[in-house]
């Protein structure tokens, strides 16, 4: 029974997306309610599916009843379950948050479009996670990429349009790379179904063609994941998109690049050539960690800081993956969780501030902690998690990354991890200083600025993310229910 949820959890959001324009002609709020319901459904089914994975380890569904290699298979295993849970829950939270935000910040005519795109984004990502062959991966990749370009541009400002266009160019190039890589792989093996592909490739010698295909796909996913030299699209896109979209982009979409990398490296290549790939990519990741944090330090716009910080944080994830060791992978996955929760909470908080108070520069944030104490407490929790203070998830992930690096004898990588977390701490403290330890900014009238009440529709998702962050932070062991078998499974694929 639960197998059917596999296909439903993808198709329901996608199908609902088509319904929304129709219904919203008569019903203003159709977009919100439908999107929320669809995402609630996929969240629920994701829970059921994760339950199934906990029992069976891997569940698969053959579309139309055709078994591979002729039919299309979608499947879920431990790694997928981890990402699926994140994707469905975060999209739900963002959808709920968007209700008020969108009404305040978008033209009414664009609201249904927003939810359509949101659903396409969520459905695309879920499909990407579940896809069993690489061509389906590509299709879903395109779906969610396209909707994210559109979402970035949706507010219609010149800057966001430009940022979105840049994102589009990079994204299209990346998807073409993926396609090229798929073509190469297909030319070598004659199949697109991942297990078969892996099998066929395993027989072949590790030739230049395989290398080229791998490189193409990895670079493409690197662009999507905003790995250091390829990250140029990210700061603009993430900072200029509407805040809930930024939350989703930073929290999830760039993780999809990582997920793609995991798929290619482990599911397809089975860890082949890991040393040379690892050396190159960990160097890039290390640079990303430092450079991203340094860029974040120099920025003054709160969303730009977070955007640059995403570059840095995703560096940790990628570093963890390319360490190819238990602790490295565990740290990487934990960092995915940490960053997803923390960064989306941060962007949502920033969204509240921007929509309620109308500014985003750090100077204007002075003393806001005394006006919006609860919001800012969650904000600070998320920052602490980002900065890997003790009793946060960030600490555990940095710990494991460090451990992984030391295990492989790469002390300098451990040093980079710690230096990066130090720099992260610096910009977090910079923000906290402005929020809590500065005299409040003066409004137009000369008195202190006043802030309207924050709607519970906004507070609840933030609160849930904040508490989730706190819970996972204090007991990072909880997430190991999924992470540990996931990592062991991945390592089991290494030949």
């Amino acid at each position: 029974m639960e197998k059917h949820f596999l296909i439903l959890t993808v198709t329901v959001p996608l199908a609902t997306a088509t319904l929304i324009p129709l219904l919203s002609i008569r019903w203003e709020r159709a977009g919100f309610w439908l999107a929320s319901l669809a995402l609630l459904f996929s969240f629920g089914s994701a829970l059921i599916l994760v339950g199934g994975v906990l029992v069976d380890g891997r569940i698969a569904y053959h579309v139309g009843g055709w078994a591979p290699p002729w039919g299309i298979e979608i499947f879920l295993d431990w790694v997928g379950a981890f990402f699926l849970l994140l994707a469905s829950s975060l999209s739900l939270a963002v959808a709920i948050f968007s209700r008020i935000y969108v009404e305040q910040n978008l033209e009414a005519s664009k609201i249904p479009l927003f939810y359509v795109l949101l659903l396409l984004l969520a459905g695309g990502m879920i499909g990407f996670i579940l896809a069993g062959d690489i061509f389906n991966m590509f299709i879903f990749f395109e779906i969610f990429s396209l909707s994210s370009y559109a979402l970035v541009a949706i507010s219609g400002g010149l800057e966001s349009l430009k940022a979105s266009f840049r994102y589009l160019l990079m994204g299209t190039i990346s998807s073409l790379f993926v396609l090229l890589g798929i073509g190469l792989l297909y030319s070598l093996t004659g199949t697109l179904y991942m297990p078969l592909l892996a099998q066929e490739l395993g027989v072949l010698p590790y030739s230049g063609a395989i290398r080229a295909a791998t490189a193409l796909i990895l670079v493409a996913f690197g662009i999507e994941a905003a790995l250091f030299p390829l990250h140029v699209w990210l700061p603009g896109a993430h900072s200029l998109a509407p805040s809930p979209v930024s939350a989703l982009l930073s929290g999830l979409v760039i993780k999809m690049g990582v997920y793609g990398m995991i798929k290619v490296l482990f599911y397809i290549l089975g860890g082949r050539g890991s040393s040379e790939i690892g050396a190159l990519f960990s160097l890039m990741a290390a640079t990303a960690i430092i450079v991203g944090a340094l860029f974040a330090l120099r920025e003054n716009d709160i969303k730009l800081i977070f955007a640059h910080s995403s570059v840095s944080q995703i560096g940790y994830v990628i570093l963890g993956i390319y360490l190819f060791s238990y602790f490295g992978l565990a740290g990487g996955l934990l960092q995915v969780l940490n960053h997803a929760l923390a960064k989306s909470a941060l962007f949502l908080c920033a969204g509240v501030v921007i929509s309620q108070a109308g500014f985003r520069r750090l100077e204007d944030l002075r003393g806001i902690g005394r006006r919006m104490p609860f919001l800012m407490v969650f904000f600070t929790i998320a920052l602490a998690s980002l900065a890997s203070l003790p009793f946060t998830c960030g600490f555990a992930s940095k710990y494991y990354l460090c451990k992984g690096a030391i295990e492989r004898g790469e002390f300098w990588l451990a040093g980079i991890v710690l230096l990066g977390s130090f720099l992260t701490l610096l910009y977090c403290v910079k923000i906290v200083n402005y929020i809590f330890f500065a005299t409040p900014a003066v409004g137009r009238g000369g008195g202190e600025r006043s802030y309207p009440e924050v709607s519970p529709w906004m507070m609840v998702p933030i609160g849930v993310l904040g508490f989730g962050s706190l819970l996972v932070g204090i007991f990072p062991g909880l997430s190991f229910i999924l992470i540990k078998p996931a990592v062991l499974g991945l390592l089991g694929m290494v030949r």
Binding site: F135, F138, I139, E142, L146, Y149, A150, A153, G156, G157, L158, L161, K162, S164, F165, R166, L168, L169, T172, I173, L176, L179, L180, I182, G183, Y186, S187, G190, L192
Partner: protein, 108 residues
């Protein structure tokens, strides 16, 4: 030299031409044209992967034993649809950018 390998080379050349356009030409429209050139080159590549010397189209006819591989063609078809979507989106953005800035040119 087989047709396949020859076409691979052509596809790469076209890809590079497209890539150059995207990177170097300032006009947004030109960039989008560049993307299209890249896309078609990738499609060319995929099709030439599937094609076989002397093979005929993957339509079942009596007496024909040697078909080209249909799978890449399916792939290309879907990718082509997506490509049109992308192009449309990009063009609409280009128009918007032009309208809101007063110039369709953008450096970088």
């Amino acid at each position: 030299m087989s047709t396949g390998n020859f076409l691979y080379g052509v596809a790469m050349l076209l890809f590079l031409i497209g890539f150059y356009t995207v990177l170097a030409r300032p006009s947004l429209i030109k960039k989008i044209i560049g993307i299209n050139i890249m896309e078609t080159s990738v499609f060319l590549f995929l099709i030439s992967v599937g094609s076989r010397r002397g093979g005929s189209a993957p339509i079942i006819l009596s007496g024909v034993k040697d078909y080209v591989n249909p799978l890449p063609q399916v792939v290309v078809l879907m990718a082509m649809v997506i490509a049109v979507g992308t192009t449309a989106l990009a063009l609409s953005m280009a128009v918007k950018i032009f309208e809101s800035s007063g110039a369709g040119e953008r450096r970088g």
